[in-house]
Symmetry: C2
Subunit: 863 residues, 2 copies
C-alpha cells in the first residue's frame, strides 16, 4: 500500500516499494506500521502546520534493512529535494520502547560544506560538517566516543581535519562522501541496533512485544543555522510542574538543536520572561506564529503538546509535537483545562488520569531536585515524605510529639500497642513486614508515611542504635527523612513540597462522582481517620476496626482483666467498665459521618495481642492484677498460638467469650440512640469477622438481636441496624448462600482471604515475594493486586450465591485491595455495591470507579 504526494515526479519509484511513504496532509499514517512519530508528523501536516518534507520507512522496511535488504535510496533523497541535507529519526510504535537517537546533516561532505559556507559562513558550515562526522563515527561506525569528543580546537577547520583523520585511521578508509552511501550506513546502523539483544531486552522489560517494530523517518533538514533568524527550540503553553497556562520552552539561535555545540549568537531564551535576548523580543512575529501553532496542535491532537521547531533564516518548521511531559499534578490540570476548553469531553478528561497518580497529590513529597543520601531502600508502604528525629519506642514518639518535635518511629515491626506512637510520629520505619503488615495498614489508614521491610537496617535496641548497611550508626535524635512512596530512608533533612489539592483536583473529583456507579467508603478506625475520610468525600465507613479502642492505656488494663478472668460473670463485670468508652467512640464516629453509613467490625484480633510482650510489662501486669508473675506468664503462654492468623480470633472469640460482642453491640446501640437525640440518623452496620460456618452467624445474630431488644426497651427508642459478615475464609465464600440468609451484607476482607486462598501469610511473604514476582511465579504480589483467578473466583462465587439467596444483599470489598484500580474494575464487573479503602486512597478509588463505569458504559454502547 503506497500513499503518495500527488504530482511528485518520484511517485513511480516509491510506488514499487509498498512500505515507504512520503508524508502528506492528505494521507493518514498508521502508527502500527510506521511508528508514532510518523503518525504525528502526518497529523501536523493535516493541521496545515509546516513540517519539512519526510519519507517514512515502515517497520517491515527497517526489518529488511537490518537483514541486508537495503531499498533504493536515491529516489528517497530525490523526493526530499535535490541536494537536500537530511536527518534520520526513529519512529517506534511506543516512545517508551526506546529507539535510535537522531542523526542530523546526512549528505554533508567536503563539497557541500563548501557550498554551504557560502550561505552560512565558513565557520558555521564547517562546524556542522565536523559535527556530522563525529556523530557518524560514534553512532554509525561505532568508533570510540572519546576519540571524537568535540574538544577545544583552534578552529572549526582544525576540528574537522582531526575528526576526518581519526576516522580514516580507525576505519582504514576515508570518510564517505556519497550522500546515498552515508544514508545507507545510517539506516543500517539504526535498524541493526534495534534488533540487538540489549535493546530488545530493555524494551521487553518495558512491556514491548517481541516483534515490536521500528519505523524511521528520513527528513529534509531545516538547518537552523546561519546569519539570519535561525535556531532551534521547544515550546509549550502549560507549566510542566503545575499544568497552569503560560508559555514555557527553550530556544537557541544558530543551533540545530538544544544540545548542539555553543551557538555563536547568544539568543538563549524563548520568552521575554525567561531573560534577554529572547526569541519573543527578536522575532515577535515568529514567536506569535509558534504560540498559534501550539494551539492548533493542541486542538488537533487533543492534548497539551510541546513543539520542537527549527527556524531557518526566518522560516519556521516543526520537527515534532509531543505530548507535554507532565507530573501527576500538571496532568490533572491539563485534563481539566482541556475539558473546560471543549477540546476533550469530561469523560475523556477522566480517562486521561491514571488513578494511582492522585496519590502523589495527597501527600508531601521530597523535592524531586533535592539530593538524596539513601541509607537503605525498603518497601514504600504509605506514601508521603517525612523528616524527623529517630525514636525507638511508641512512648518516645508520644513524648516527642508532646514537645512539638517531629519524629520518625523505627521498630522491628509494629504491634497494636505501637499505634498511639504511630499517630504521634511523622513517619514510621520497620525492619520487617510487607505492604500489608500491621505497620503498613495502620500507617496508610492514618496517612502517616511509612517504609516497611527495610531489611538492610539493623535495629540494635540493646545499644539503642540503628545500623545502616554501609555501617553508619544512627542514634535516637538523629534526623532522617523517609519517602513512603519509593521506600527510601534518607540521612538528614530534605526539602519537601506540600500536597496539591487545588481546584482542578476538586473539579475532576466532582466529575468522577457524577459518573461512577459504585460507592467508595473508607476504612477508618478513629475520629481522626473518619475526618480524613469525610474530607475526601468517602461515601461512609466500610470498615471500622474496633480493636484500637482497647489499646489506650486505661482500657488496656481492663481488657487484660477480661482475658485473665475465667468466668462469664467476672468478664461481664470487667467489660461493663469498657462500655462507656466504646459508646463514646461510636457516638463520635456517628457524629462525624453524620447520616452516612458506618460499618463496625466486632473485635477480631487474637487475645494475645492485648497481653504484654516484655518482662517489665508482665511484672507490672502481675502487680496490677495481684497475681503471681508465674501465673501471668503461664496464662500468656497458654494463649500464645502457633499460627495466630488461623487461631482463636474473630467470631471464634465472639462465640467462646460472648460477653465481648454483647458489650460491643450494646455500645453501638446506645450510641445510636444517643446521637439520634441530636437528629443524627444512623443505621449502624455490624460486621462479624472471620466467619467460616453459618451457625456462627446464627449464634452471634441471636445474641445481638437480644441486646438490641434490651436497649430498645431500656431507652424506649426504636432503631434499626444491619448485620453482616466479613468474608475472609474460603469456606465463608463457598457457603455464602446459606450465610446470606441471615445477614444484610457481605464484605470481603481480601487480605485474609488472599492469605488463606494462597496459604500464604502476608507477614512472612516479604522474604520471597520479590523473588517470586521477579521470576514471574506470581504475576503480581497478590497482597498488592487482587488475584483475579483464585481469590477473584471465590469473590464471584460468594457474590452470586449470596445474591441468589438474598437479591438485596449489599456486597463490598473492605480489604487492602479496596482502593486499587484493578480491584475496582473487578468489583464493578462483579456487580458489587461499594469498595472500602484507606482514607488516603479514597480519591484514587473514586476516580478508578468513574473510569470503570465509563468503560462499562462504552462496552455496553458498542455491544
Amino acid at each position: 500500500m503506497l500513499q503518495m504526494q500527488k504530482g511528485t515526479g518520484l511517485g513511480k519509484v516509491l510506488q514499487r516499494n509498498a512500505t515507504m511513504q512520503v508524508l502528506t496532509a492528505e494521507a493518514p499514517v498508521e502508527a502500527a506500521r510506521y511508528g508514532r512519530r510518523a503518525e504525528r508528523l502526518a497529523g501536523l501536516l493535516r493541521l496545515g502546520l509546516p513540517v519539512p518534507r519526510a519519507v517514512a520507512l515502515s517497520f517491515d522496511t527497517v526489518r529488511g534493512i537490518a537483514e541486508g535488504r537495503m531499498p533504493a535510496l536515491a529516489p528517497i533523497l530525490d523526493a526530499l529535494g535535490p541536494g537536500a541535507i537530511v536527518s534520520v529519526r526513529g519512529s517506534p510504535e511506543n516512545p517508551d520502547w526506546g529507539g535510535p537517537g537522531t542523526i542530523l546533516n546526512i549528505g554533508l561532505n567536503a563539497e557541500r560544506a563548501a557550498g554551504l559556507a557560502e550561505i552560512l559562513g565558513r565557520e558555521t558550515a564547517i562546524a556542522a560538517y565536523a559535527n556530522f562526522v563525529r556523530a557518524f563515527a560514534v553512532h554509525v561506525a561505532r568508533l570510540d566516543e572519546e576519540d571524537f569528543a568535540a574538544g577545544p580546537a583552534a578552529s572549526a577547520e582544525a576540528a574537522l581535519a582531526a575528526a576526518l583523520t581519526r576516522y580514516e585511521e580507525e576505519m582504514a578508509e576515508p570518510f564517505p562522501q556519497d550522500p546515498t552511501d552515508q544514508l545507507a550506513q545510517v539506516l543500517r546502523a539504526m535498524a541493526r541496533a534495534w534488533q540487538g539483544t540489549s535493546a530488545r531486552l530493555l524494551r521487553q522489560a518495558k512491556g514491548a512485544p517481541p516483534e515490536a517494530g521500528l519505523g524511521l523517518l528520513v527528513q529534509r533538514m531545516a538547518l537552523g543555522l546561519g546569519r539570519g533568524k535561525s535556531g532551534a527550540g521547544t515550546i509549550q503553553t502549560v507549566c510542566p510542574e503545575t499544568g497552569a497556562p503560560g508559555i514555557f520552552g527553550r530556544y537557541r539561535s544558530d543551533a540545530q538543536g538544544l544540545l548542539a555545540p555553543p551557538p555563536t549568537d547568544p539568543a538563549h531564551h524563548l520568552t521575554r520572561a525567561d531573560g534577554s535576548p529572547s526569541l519573543e523580543d527578536r522575532a515577535p512575529d515568529i514567536f506569535a506564529t509558534l504560540v498559534d501553532h501550539v494551539r492548533t496542535a493542541t486542538a488537533g491532537m487533543r492534548d497539551a503538546v510541546q513543539l520542537e521547531f527549527t527556524i531557518e533564516d526566518g522560516d519556521l518548521r516543526l520537527l515534532d509535537a509531543v505530548p507535554v511531559p507532565r507530573t501527576a499534578r500538571s496532568a490533572l490540570r491539563i485534563a481539566v483545562d482541556l475539558a473546560d476548553a471543549g477540546v476533550l469531553s469530561r469523560d475523556e478528561a477522566l480517562m486521561r488520569i491514571p488513578p494511582r497518580s492522585l496519590t502523589e497529590l495527597l501527600h508531601r513529597r521530597i523535592d524531586p531536585r533535592a539530593a538524596r543520601d539513601v541509607l537503605v531502600r525498603g518497601i514504600g508502604a504509605s506514601p508521603g515524605a517525612a523528616t524527623g528525629r529517630i525514636v525507638f519506642s511508641a512512648d518516645a514518639a508520644v513524648a516527642a510529639a508532646a514537645r512539638g518535635e517531629p519524629c520518625i518511629l523505627v521498630r522491628h515491626e509494629t504491634q497494636p500497642e505501637d499505634v498511639r506512637g504511630m499517630h504521634a510520629a511523622s513517619g514510621v520505619v520497620t525492619e520487617r513486614g510487607g505492604v500489608t503488615s500491621h505497620a503498613a495498614v495502620i500507617a496508610r489508614g492514618i496517612g502517616v508515611p511509612c517504609v516497611v521491610g527495610a531489611a538492610g537496617l539493623t535495629l540494635d535496641l540493646r545499644h539503642k542504635r540503628l545500623i545502616a548497611p554501609d555501617g553508619r550508626n544512627l542514634l535516637p535524635g538523629d534526623v532522617i527523612t523517609i519517602d513512603g512512596g519509593t521506600g527510601e530512608v534518607l540521612a538528614g533533612g530534605i526539602d519537601t513540597e506540600e500536597p496539591a489539592l487545588d481546584r482542578a483536583f476538586e473539579t475532576l473529583m466532582a466529575w468522577a462522582d457524577a459518573v461512577r456507579t459504585m460507592a467508595v467508603r473508607a476504612n477508618a478506625d478513629t475520629p481522626a481517620e473518619a475526618a480524613v475520610a469525610k474530607s475526601f468525600r468517602a461515601d461512609g465507613i466500610g470498615l471500622c476496626r474496633t480493636e484500637h479502642m482497647f489499646f489506650e492505656d486505661d482500657r488496656l488494663v481492663v481488657m487484660r482483666e477480661v482475658i485473665f478472668t475465667d468466668n462469664a460473670a467476672d468478664r461481664r463485670a470487667a467489660l461493663e467498665r469498657l462500655l462507656p468508652f466504646q459508646r463514646a467512640d461510636f457516638a463520635e464516629l456517628f457524629r462525624i459521618m453524620a447520616d452516612q453509613p458506618v460499618c463496625i467490625r466486632l473485635l477480631d484480633p487474637p487475645l494475645h495481642e492485648f497481653l504484654p510482650k516484655d518482662r517489665g510489662a508482665v511484672h507490672e501486669l502481675a502487680a496490677a492484677m495481684n497475681l503471681p508473675v508465674s501465673s501471668v506468664m503461664a496464662r500468656i503462654e497458654d494463649i500464645e498460638e502457633f499460627n495466630p492468623m488461623l487461631g482463636l480470633r474473630g467470631v471464634r472469640l465472639g462465640i467462646t467469650m460472648p460477653e465481648i460482642y454483647e458489650m460491643q453491640a450494646r455500645a453501638i446501640f446506645e450510641a445510636t440512640v444517643e446521637v439520634g437525640r441530636d437528629d443524627v440518623a444512623v443505621v449502624p452496620e455490624i460486621m462479624i469477622p472471620l466467619v467460616s460456618a453459618r451457625r456462627e452467624v446464627e449464634l452471634v445474630k441471636s445474641r445481638i438481636d437480644a441486646v438490641a431488644a434490651a436497649v430498645r426497651g431500656e431507652t424506649r427508642t426504636d432503631f434499626d441496624f444491619r448485620l453482616g459478615v466479613m468474608v475472609e475464609t474460603p469456606r465463608a465464600a463457598l457457603r455464602a448462600g446459606e450465610i446470606a440468609q441471615h445477614v444484610r451484607f457481605l464484605s470481603f476482607g481480601t487480605n485474609d482471604l488472599t492469605q488463606m486462598t494462597y496459604g500464604l501469610s502476608r507477614d512472612d511473604s516479604g522474604r520471597f515475594m520479590r523473588d517470586y514476582v521477579a521470576q514471574g511465579v506470581f504475576p503480581e504480589d497478590p497482597f498488592h493486586t487482587l488475584d483475579p483467578e483464585g481469590v477473584g473466583e471465590l469473590l464471584e462465587i460468594a457474590a452470586s450465591r449470596g445474591r441468589e439467596a438474598r437479591p438485596d444483599l449489599t456486597i463490598s470489598i473492605c480489604g487492602e485491595h479496596g482502593g486499587s484500580p484493578e480491584s475496582i474494575a473487578f468489583c464493578q464487573a462483579a456487580g458489587f455495591d461499594y469498595v472500602s479503602c484507606s482514607p488516603f486512597r479514597v480519591p484514587v478509588a473514586r476516580l478508578a470507579a468513574a473510569q470503570v463505569a465509563l468503560d462499562a458504559r462504552s462496552v455496553a454502547a458498542s455491544g
Copy 2:
C-alpha cells in the same frame, strides 16, 4: 389399621382402637410404629418360637396415654387370658434411645397372691407380690427408693406388710388392688416419663429425632417361680469377647429375672461348664430346646442373638431375642461365621462391621475389666494401650529403649527433633495439641499409642516432674499407662490384651479387597512404616514425607549448613553430602514396597524446624559451624515466622532454594536405577507440596526433568517417573485445570486444605474445638471428619477441572482424613482413584472402601 389374631373373641374390642395389636405369627409389626421389641417378638412368633401372649401399644397410643387419653384396658387384659399376671416392657424404635425399665407382676394383689401361694408356696408368692409393690411404689408412684429397699426382713410376709404400710403412708391411699387400675398407672407413668425433659434430652443427645416415639408391650407373664423347673436366664451360642462358637449365658432357677432377689434354690448356672448345679444338668431337654431356639432365632433374625427366657414349671417361654452384645473382635468373627454358614451373604457380612471398629483389633488394649486410676483425660490421638516409665526427652526415651525398658515420652508438644524419641517410646503424651498435631500424626503413622492435649497435666521441666490435676507429682521413672483410644492417662501399670489379627480378620479383609473399587495406600515415611503398610496390604505408599530423613543426627548438621549457607554453590556442596543418605532411604522403601507405587513428597516444612530451639543446642551449632553465637541467633530469628503454616515452605522453598529439590530428585532417580538392577520395577511418583500457582509447577517440573535427563545419561539407564501436585491450598484446588496440564496426579492434603479453607490452625483449634462441636457450631471437628460442604466442594471443583484438562489424571486424598469412612464415601462418589492413610488405618480404609463400593452398587441396582 388393626392386625388381629384370628378367632380371638376380643377382636372386636381391640379393633376399635386402630393402634394396638395382639402379636401373632401371621401379622408383621412395624418397628416404626410399635418399636423394635414388638417387631422382634412378632418375628419370634413367626419362627414358631414360644412367646407369651402380648399386646403391643403403638407410639401414638402411648403418646395419647401421656396426654391423658387412656385406652380401655380391660379388653387388653382379657386378650392376655383371664386373670393373667402381666408385665409391661418398653419398645422404643431404637434401643439406644432409652425407655422405661420393665415392670413385672402387674395384676398381683392380696387376693391373687393368696391364690398364687397355693401353687408356688406362700413365701415365693408373697415375695413376688412384695417385689411388685416395691417396684410400683418406686417406678410408678415415684416414691423414695430408699424407703422401699428390700432389706433383711424376718419373712416375706413382714416385708410385704412393711411395703404396703409405707406405700399407704406416703400416698394416703392403700396400694391399688384392681389389676386394671394397676396397669393404667404403670402405662401412664411410663408414657409420661418418656415425654419428660431429661429423657428427651438424653435421647436426642444420642441422635433421636424430637418426635421419637415409645411403644409399650403388655405381656402375659411366664412366672419363672415355684417348685418345679422354674427360673429365668439368657443364652447365646457365641463367645461375647471373641465371637467363637460356644454356649454362654446365665440362669437362675426360681427367679423372674437375673436381677431378682436371691433365689431360694441355688441353681445359678446355665451350662455344666459354668459350674454345678446347672440347667444343662438338671433339665437337659429344656437346655437342648433352648440351644435349638437360639439356632432358629439366629437363622431367622440373620444375626447372632441372645435369648431371654423364662421357665415356668418346665414350660419354656422366650421374652426377647436381642442381637448378641459384642466387641469389635466378636462382631467380626460373628459376621464371618454367619456368612460361612450361609446365613448372610459375604456382602452383608462386610456391611455389618463398622470400619472404625477394626482399629481396636490392631492394637493392644487395656483389659476392659481392669480398674483404672485416671490421672487425666486428654484426646486419644493414636489408639492402643502402653505402659512404661515416664521420660521427658527424646534422648531419655532412646536411652530407655536401649536398656530395653518401655517408656512413655511426655512433652509439652513434639517437634520434628522428637521423632526418634517417639520411635523409641512405647507411648507418647503431650500437654498441648489436637488430633492432627505433630505428635498425633507421627504417632498414628508409626502406630505408637498417643494422648495429646492432656491439658490437665502440668509438665514442670525445671523440676523434672509432671503434676496431675489432683496434685499428684510424677517423676521420671514412675510408671504410667496410656489409652490412646480414650485419651486416658492412668497411674501405674495395667493389664493389657494383645491385638487380634486372626483368621476371621484376614477373611473379612480378603472379601473387602474383592469388592472395593478404590485403592488404599498408606502414608509411610520410614522403612518401619512401609513394612507395617505392606503387612496391612496397602496398595502402595500415597505419601512419603521426606523431612524426617533430614532429622537424624549426622544429617541434621548438614541440613543446618544448607540453611546457613548464603549462596547456591555452597548449598549444593552441602546437599551433595546428603545425597547418599537420601538415595539409600528411597532405595530401601522401593525394595520394601517391591513393585507397588511409592509417592514421595519433596521437602515441605519451614526451615526453622531444622534449627535448634534451646540455648545449649544453639551454642553447639555455633561451635560446629565456627560462627559467633550472635550470628547463629540472628539467623534463627531471621527465619522465624509469624504464621509458619503460611510461610516459606513447600514449593516456595523449592523455588527459592532450588538445589534442595534437585538433590532430592536425583536421589529418587538414582535409587530407581539402583533397585532396577535388582529387578525391582519402580515408577517413582514425585509430589510437589503447597502449590498455589501453575508457574510453580512449571518451574519445578523443568528442573526435575533436567535432573532426570542427567541421571539417565550418567547411568545409561532409562526410567519413567510421575510428577504430581499436593493440593493443599484453596487456590491450587481452584486452578487445578491449568495445574493438571503439567502433572499426572493430584493428591489432596486435606489437613492443610482444611486449615486454609476454614482459616483455622489445627494446632491452635484444640482450645475451642470441643466447645464448637458441643455447641453445634461445627457439626464435627473438620480435622477429624472431612467437611463435605466447604473443603469437599473444593475437592470436587479440583477433581472435575483436573479431569477435564487431563482425563487420565490420578486423583487421591493423602491427608489425615484419608482413612476415615466418611471421606472414603466422599472419594468414591467423587471418582477418586485412591485414598492414603496412616498404616494402622489401612484395614479400616479397605473395609470402608468395600462398603462404599457395595453402597454404590446397590444404588446403581435400584436406580
